[in-house]
């Protein structure tokens, strides 16, 4: 039985309804190799962003991902504010935190349901998504939209959270605590779930550091890495919350970390709401111009740290907009975690990093006849250098500002 066959997971597969392609090289049921292929749905967001004004850019990056649809705008507006030296009113910071944490809540519930589905436990799927529904309704109440909230803008937020709405928000949050505790106990107590998840797809602490894993994927391996704590921004420096870490880095730990994080999110939202009840002030500083400069914005998205870099020349459009989504760091960890496991476990291991392919998508150019990659990474670097040289010539800039 040394013959290797390829089990295709993707490009279209019921495991995850997104265009990704995992080539599992298997011997019998054992996985001996994994190829990750992306590039089925590249949209060129970074290039599009250069054609839009700063206000429009925020709406554009909101559409990178339907699930973390406020993490990208949050990181983006922070990058713009960093580049252009824009002040943000304090009340807006609290509102941003509330929206961000609500998003983490619904994203983790969504993952929990999907994880149940991947294990064939469809009851967990349906229940988790049912209890996620009130969060979406809450979003509709606060922002007017269930999924793409359109709340962030450079200089603040678009809508205020009115004091009359706070009791309704609080009520929904209280209603969530019971179900979340139910899921926590169900996962920790169910012997069958433990048998399926424990010791499966282990990512050691060293491997997590080597792969630069972020978010719950890294935290489950014991790397206490969280932008909210490491660089306290928004309201995170002013509220009390814990970083949840696991020990073993297996799928079980990843599930537990996510479930416990939802409880921490509720804690953060409650503290923010308490402040919002009394904190006066505008929610938008309404900046009229963005100064020239470079800025970096980071936010702890549900899947991990998302980074936006914005370069502005003082006009109304970004000169360069670079985005690094968390799944881009997490998906490659599958290459160690999945090897040596069975095909049955491979599906849940691949899903355990909570991958988001539209965030991770990169361009791939293939020759249609042979299927060979036309643009290798060396080729792309060469193209990039040629373009930089061309731009430098056009703009009359001497060279890189940083000495290499």
């Amino acid at each position: 039985m040394s013959k290797t066959t390829i089990i295709p997971i993707g490009p279209y597969h019921p495991l995850q309804e997104e265009p990704e392609f995992f080539k599992l090289h298997v011997e019998g049921e054992k996985v001996v190799g994994l190829d990750i292929e992306l590039g089925y749905n590249h949209r060129g967001i970074e290039k599009l962003s250069e054609l839009k004004t700063f206000e429009q850019t925020v709406f554009l990056v909101e559409r990178i991902c339907g699930i973390c649809s406020t993490s990208h705008p949050l990181a983006c507006v922070q990058a713009v504010e960093d580049a252009g030296g824009v002040e943000v009113p304090e009340r807006a910071l609290y509102i941003r935190s509330v929206i961000g944490e609500l998003e983490r809540l619904h994203s983790h519930m969504l993952w929990l349901g999907l994880a149940g589905h991947f294990l064939g436990f469809n009851t967990v799927w349906m229940w988790a998504w049912r209890y996620r529904e009130p969060i979406l309704e809450l979003f509709e109440l606060i922002t007017g939209n269930r999924n793409h909230y359109g709340m962030m803008k450079p200089g603040g937020v678009r809508r205020d959270i009115s004091v009359e709405d706070i009791p309704a928000i609080q009520k929904t949050l209280d209603g969530l605590k019971g179900p979340i505790c139910l899921f926590r106990d169900a996962v920790t107590d169910d012997p069958l779930i433990r048998a399926r998840l424990e010791g499966v797809g282990t990512l050691t602490k060293q491997q997590a550091i080597d792969y630069c894993a972020v978010g719950p994927t890294a935290r489950a391996s014991g790397v206490a890495k969280d932008v909210r704590k490491d660089h306290p921004h928004l309201a995170y420096g002013r509220v009390d919350f814990k970083i949840i870490t696991g020990k073993n880095g297996d799928v079980f730990d990843k599930a537990i970390v996510r479930i416990l994080e939802t409880l921490e999110s509720i804690k953060i939202i409650e503290q923010c709401l308490e402040v919002l009840k009394t904190l006066p002030g505008p929610v938008d500083s309404n900046p009229k111009e963005i100064m020239a400069g470079e800025g970096i914005g980071t936010y702890e998205a549900p899947r991990g740290e998302v980074i936006h870099y914005i370069c502005s020349d003082g006009g109304n459009r970004p000169l360069r907009h670079k985005i690094r989504a968390p799944s881009f760091m997490n998906v490659p960890t599958n290459q160690t975690t999945v090897i040596g496991q069975s095909v049955a476990d491979a599906t849940i291991i691949l899903a355990a990093v909570d991958p988001c392919y539209c965030c991770t998508e990169r361009m791939a150019a293939l020759d249609a006849g042979s299927g060979r990659r036309i643009l290798s990474s060396a080729e792309l670097i060469r193209l990039s250098q040629a373009k930089t040289a061309k731009l430098k010539k056009e703009m009359g800039v001497e060279g890189p500002r940083l000495k290499i």
Partner: protein
């Protein structure tokens, strides 16, 4: 005349048509209870019929490079076997004709054929996902058949007979502790025989996209789905017959109602198990059936010999 009535029994009642209709109704019960457990509304009563009918009028695609004859005939083996098994069981309930000594062994054989049909069909289709599903189905079959047959031995020991009719006439097996243990073992094996969660590794939608059935389409897929629905009817009714005294006809409505309730109880147990567990890996399933389940079945047999 004798021959004509036998054909009628095979094709209409209690053979193919009857089993298919009641099987689809049972699959509606399965889907409805599942939906209620998952806080959904569930399908309307006729939905399983529509589903099968729709498949029957669709195109059949035969993938290139398959063993054509085997690919086309595999689903038919399965449905024929389960219809015949249902016929034998019902002939013991309703005195249409006489059952014969050793019919229980024939039924045990017939009930393995649907799984065999899935294995044959999946290997004939030459698809890597289907072959993986087929090999899992084979492992699963090797795992559950041993404890299942051992569990069925317990009522055989109680009644000193291998004729189904004698088991219906005698006191039900579950009246004794050994019978209860054997019933529990047989129910768990039934879950695997129906390839339902937690033992649905052979099809595992999210891993193998339907596994064994991945290349099947149109009427052939419909026949497979129908076979599954018929198994969902035949397996519980077999256990009711062997362990719980069956359904007593000809003594008024009350015993019939009681029999139907026993049957529905087993079906609901199957549905509840499948909705409160994740899928186990195939190696875990094999260990489970060859370990605790086989031991429990042996314990039940020893208890049965001791008269408990």
């Amino acid at each position: 005349m004798e021959f004509g009535s036998l054909i009628l029994q095979m094709l209409v009642f209690p053979g193919l048509l009857f089993t298919a209709v009641v099987g689809l109704v049972t699959s509606w019960v399965d889907r409805k209870v599942t939906a209620r457990v998952q806080m959904r509304v569930g399908p309307p009563f006729l939905q399983p019929f529509y589903d099968v009918l729709k498949l029957m009028i669709k195109e059949t695609c035969i993938p290139a490079g398959t063993s054509r004859w085997l690919f086309l005939s595999a689903p038919l083996f399965g449905i024929a076997a389960v219809a015949l098994a249902s016929l034998l069981i019902w002939r013991a309930f309703i005195p249409l004709g006489q059952t014969f000594s050793g019919d229980i062994i024939v039924i045990l054989y017939l009930l393995t054929i649907p799984a065999m049909a899935v294995i044959l069909g999946s290997f004939a289709s030459q698809n890597p996902l289907a072959s993986l599903g087929g090999s899992r189905e084979m492992k699963l079959m090797l795992a559950y058949e041993l404890p299942f047959v051992l569990a069925i031995l317990v009522p055989v020991i109680h009644t000193h007979s291998i004729r189904l009719f004698d088991m219906l006439a005698a006191a039900p097996a579950v009246a004794k502790p050994s019978g209860v243990i054997a019933l529990v073992v047989a129910m768990v094996c039934m879950q695997a025989k129906l390839t339902l969660v937690p033992f649905d590794a052979p099809e595992a939608e999210t891993e193998l996209t339907g596994g064994a059935y991945v290349e099947y389409s149109g009427p052939l897929l419909g026949v497979f789905k129908l076979t599954r629905a018929m198994m969902l009817f035949t397996m519980p009714i077999f256990l009711v017959a062997v362990f719980c005294g069956g359904i007593a006809f000809g003594q008024g409505w009350l015993p019939i109602l009681l029999g139907v309730l026993k049957y529905l109880g087993l079906v609901v147990a199957v549905v509840l198990i499948r909705n409160t567990a994740p899928r186990v890996r195939i190696d875990q399933a094999v260990k489970f059936f060859w370990g605790p389940m086989t031991l429990a079945a042996f314990a039940a047999i020893i208890a049965a010999f001791l008269g408990w």
